[in-house]
Symmetry: C2
Subunit: 373 residues, 2 copies
Amino acid sequence: MTPKIASFLASQPATPCLVLDLDRVAENFARLRAALPAAAIYYAVKANPAPQILRLLAEAGSCFDAASLPEIEASLEAGAQPEAISFGNTVKKPSAIARAHAFGVPLYAFDSREELEKIAAHAPGAKIYCRLAVNNVGAEWPLSKKFGTTLEKAKELMLAARGLGLMPHGLSFHVGSQQTGTLAYELAIAEVAMLFTDLKNAGLPLQMLNLGGGFPTRYQEDVPEHDEFGTAIMDTMIRHFGNDLPDILIEPGRSMVGDAGVVAAEAVLVCRRMPQDERRWVYLDIGRFGGLAETEGEAIRYRITAGDGATGPVVLAGPSCDGVDVMYEKTPYRLPLGLKSGDTVLIHDTGAYVTSYASQNFNGFTPLAEHYI
Amino acid sequence: MTPKIASFLASQPATPCLVLDLDRVAENFARLRAALPAAAIYYAVKANPAPQILRLLAEAGSCFDAASLPEIEASLEAGAQPEAISFGNTVKKPSAIARAHAFGVPLYAFDSREELEKIAAHAPGAKIYCRLAVNNVGAEWPLSKKFGTTLEKAKELMLAARGLGLMPHGLSFHVGSQQTGTLAYELAIAEVAMLFTDLKNAGLPLQMLNLGGGFPTRYQEDVPEHDEFGTAIMDTMIRHFGNDLPDILIEPGRSMVGDAGVVAAEAVLVCRRMPQDERRWVYLDIGRFGGLAETEGEAIRYRITAGDGATGPVVLAGPSCDGVDVMYEKTPYRLPLGLKSGDTVLIHDTGAYVTSYASQNFNGFTPLAEHYI
């Protein structure tokens, strides 16, 4: 937790709320740029679309990866140039493609012939890139089944793109979110490089490789530093592409904002469910439907603190009447034995993928407040 | 789908949206009252908190089961009397208890000593009821681990309540949501009746038994009719309580509004993920984070239609870049072979537990529109 956040929390804001230190976002951007100077950074807006973050990144020279038309509009409002935006969702409504094209957004993702034809019809002449399905080994929030196509199909579609009046620009992949190792990047780059060569030999030299996102935030276990990813990625790129490096894009979201934010929550009830239980149940005023959606299957295991003192095991649950609104039942968590209703509980590194998941009013609870400081 | 909904949909409202026929809610209320005339109906506001529904039910004479202070406020605004409201969440902030008490809300749930003490401190003299953990056999959305206590602990807490200045009023249980059989009610009533007798012998006659919710909506498989639940419940009540029946409360939510609503969605992309796939992937403009949260683990399997014609197997996914935003991959679904991007897809019986789960802006998508007709 940064000193700025600690000082803000000392004023005891109403809970639940996210407090996010914008300086940390600026630092993360600078660090990532230093770690991969050859890459253009396209911030994954979906990680946290707060205007304060988008403005800061636009000023720092970031580009933007948008999942939808509203994310494109938010980026433009924050000062991004249309040329700095990539429409990265492979699933887009025709009306959204047409509007993005009218704004001047140049770059569109696809992974199927149907989507390619939609782009051709509604964004004629646009630059397109094809998303490949790759191994998500090492990811804590994997993505592979829903997106991406095969090398063979990608080749066929890229070769067809010119005939549809589009500019076949590059390829992309995604190694899965909260990717904790460099191996998946190395494997994916090796595969994609073969397709680059293949297409070049077929008369279609490509200009761009989009490495997607996935760079991790440190929750509880150590994860590689940005530098380590940067070195592994560039070594692999040079091994496979030599001096003929394509433009490199990356789409960090979590690694840009995750560790910049802390959620302050209140323990609403602390009790033992059955008299013989060793573990206490701690019910917070935020849960899976209040923003902590990535605790589904206990996939993302946030660091959680609640002051000092001897600790004992706990189950962590949300405030709603929904039985599945339980964050951690299998993962061992410990909180102070003196914890009681009304005490503050901090959920660390929650700057990414929390606020936007929050339900509009499940069980009558309004979304958490957001403070960008 | 009711004729009113069909006629509204013919006007092609922007998708995604919920269209809900209020007449059906009125019919469901009347049917449930007829099936269980001895029970007071406390509508579970969390199922759908739309003011139009709350007003209709308040006028029809329904009471309200509220999960939070905002749900209490919404019920009061819709015309409910404070006496007709139960604060049914066993996890409540002290400030919410105090405010509810100031409004005149008489009835509070609890299942732990800690909560009982909070109620005593902030709603002195209130009527309280203890929630028991019971078998959720037959429920498609079970709830048992997070809530409820043992018979033994309930007895101890009910006996302690008077000493805390509270009115020990009754007991409750919940057989799990989308409960498809009557057995769980029969087992639970048998258990609870023993505790009634036990407490009476200890000098504490109770007045009320809250049977909770759980009554199902027909999605794809047949479920028992309200009458069947009514008969099974009353037979069991009489068998165990004889002529000394307590006041009976029920908290229907899903069964009151589920089949009154239809979500109209758009197919954003229809494609085969891999060339050899027999199944097409159909990406809708609504997904797990746009309101279809109960498709988690494919627990609730909505009926889904998209016009006529020969059908083939499909996987159904949402529009976001999130890999877990897939509704049905294991459950066999079939949609017309001619289905294409831009076509309307209807998700039936979505009046309950959809709108309120919708995330405020995940991936930039705003919550679905709501039309109450």
